[in-house]
Symmetry: C2
Subunit: 337 residues, 2 copies
DNA sequence: TTGTACGCGTTATCAG
DNA sequence: CTGATAACGCGTACAA
């Protein structure tokens, strides 16, 4: 139970000044006699000395630590994003503090305060849409922000990385129209989110361009959390004139939606074609294997980390990176009966 | 670009001393005139002042921050564990720093150093088995350790939370023997891990007790990372006398294993019964729905956080919490043909 | 190489 | 009681 050693303990034990110890710690800072260096290293080992990050940060201001603020690690898309980002950051010697918001604006608030208090160098986030003011404050604290997937309008100085949401929805819709579908159910996230809106717009624009009538009953905006994807599917299937195809453009609701379809007697793809925005092992294992829109996660991660680190110190213009999603046609789509 | 305000800035702007500001910050520390308090709060707001965590920690030693060191967020089991732990911790006002090891001892080393440098109050981890010394050093730094799922033998002062691995394997094996199976393929993690070993032992013990011959060809120990679960399944199916049932007791390899089975012409459960250690939405969506061994994640999370926080400050005896897993019989198991 | 001021919030000690 | 002063914790960096 000897309390942890400090730099002064090390200096004393090695019979030299703390300045030298400090130099051994961050070598390159100044000259140290090889013999001395060895001795210091040995002493540090014996005392199992670890410099405290708190003390370092206190001196050196904004850290190279990154905050990662995700809506939900349970969603495999975010989980894989987290994995990639952590890996990417670590390979550059940067630590990541991960926090989750559960899509809750209050929790996001708290997290932002924490991040601000820690003076992290940057924050990579999938934001809810209601805390613009908090984001601004973070920016004023010299933190640079990278929004991934979604973004908050009005936070102008933030970077942004995402797939081309509008285009991806367009592509999915076109695929179905090409097959001959005209009644297409569309399940997206809330219109208050940029992704929900962009995807819905892409879908509607395509319908219009291809001369397919829009039936607002076929458009479902459901929250990310919860199981409302199932309810949406239920309503679609119970319509007097049900859709012959469904696009689930809300990644978080894919599992619930698919489960609901499976519980019904509807056959995929004979009675119903299905496209989901989700890149997950199980979409391939499902019977039939699902046609999906895949987000290139590793690429998004690497760009995000790039941006978050690039602007630490030298603040430049905000960047926006748009990546193409990959449309993978498998067995869940075919021409309507 | 005015650099972030400090406590002294606030004091100056409010026309008082920093001591008072500090008291307003952590109220209860000392008396402050209500009028003064209001003024201070207002000034803090205007300057968008945030006390720096680094400075606070420097003074107060070991933090209430928890480190969470997981093997792989991409594995849904760990992802959900992370989610639960973060939620649980947050509800007690504790922050969580998440790091991942990718099952790599070197990365784990680094992470442990980082955590040591940050003087986190506790670490919850699913360890690899090779860094006993590093764990010891962390403990000497007054960090308390909670191993979840797996643990490291030889690190005596650490707490431990897990399901009863031996029993869960026994239960799965017994279910199959009861159905009439005698050739059972068993895919587990490396024998160097406590979970891999305990589950294998449970399996073997049950075979012995029920008088079923052991065929070492039916026992596969595969790593957690990678896709070797598929290879293992391949070998099992290609045996001269293939198994009539398979237990995948390696959560990380479930998806790969199932995919491999699906690619073959083998029918489940007619030709092959299947039990997987995995609690995941898709196991229910699969055709047929899979019989699973479910780990009660929320409970494990809550116990872990409890233990990690309980011993902060007052170090007591190490605890070991064993939770019963839940065996869910669905449609992927039946009597052999 | 060494001595030492510095960064910033906390808290014990003191004065009003 | 309210508010002020100063020392402290620990690593960094510059002047000596």
């Amino acid at each position: 139970m000897p309390k942890p050693a400090t730099i002064r303990d090390v200096a004393a034990a090695a019979g030299i000044s703390i300045a030298v110890v400090s130099r051994v710690l961050n070598d390159g800072t100044g000259p140290v006699a090889p013999a001395t260096r060895q001795r210091v290293l040995k002493v540090m080992e014996e005392l199992s000395y670890r410099p405290r990050t708190a003390a370092r940060e206190l001196k050196s201001g904004p850290t190279t630590t990154l905050g990662l603020l995700l809506a939900d690690v349970t969603n495999p898309f975010f989980a894989r994003l987290a994995d990639s980002i952590v890996r990417e950051a670590r390979s550059r010697g940067v630590q990541v503090i991960l926090m989750t918001t559960q899509e809750d604006a209050r929790l996001e608030q708290d997290a932002l305060d924490t991040l601000a208090a820690r003076r992290v160098g940057g924050v990579i986030a999938t934001p809810t849409s209601t805390n613009a003011a908090s984001w601004q404050r973070l920016i004023e604290l010299d933190t640079n922000i990278v929004f991934v997937d979604r973004y908050v309008e009005g936070v102008v100085e933030a970077d942004h990385v995402s797939i081309d949401n509008e285009r991806s929805a367009r592509q999915a819709t076109e695929h179905l129209i090409d097959l001959g579908h005209t009644r297409i159910g569309f399940i997206s996230g809330p219109l208050s989110t940029t992704t929900g809106r962009a995807r819905t717009e892409g879908h509607l624009a395509t319908l219009a361009r291809r001369g397919v009538a829009v039936d607002s009953q076929l458009l479902c905006n459901v929250p990310f959390r919860g199981d409302q994807g199932a309810d949406a599917v239920g309503s679609l299937l119970n319509l007097a004139e049900p859709p012959t195809a469904i696009i689930v453009a809300n990644t978080a609701q894919v599992a619930a939606s698919v489960r609901r379809i499976r519980q019904s007697s509807i056959r995929v793809p004979e009675d119903l074609s299905l496209i989901v925005f989700d890149d997950n092992p199980w979409t391939e294992l499902f019977t039939p294997s699902l046609t999906i829109m895949r987000q290139p996660i590793a690429m998004m991660a690497s760009h995000s980390v790039d941006l978050a680190l690039a602007r630490i110190g030298g603040s430049s213009e905000p960047h926006s990176v748009v990546i193409e999603a990959e449309f993978v046609v498998r067995s869940s789509t075919q021409a309507p009966a």
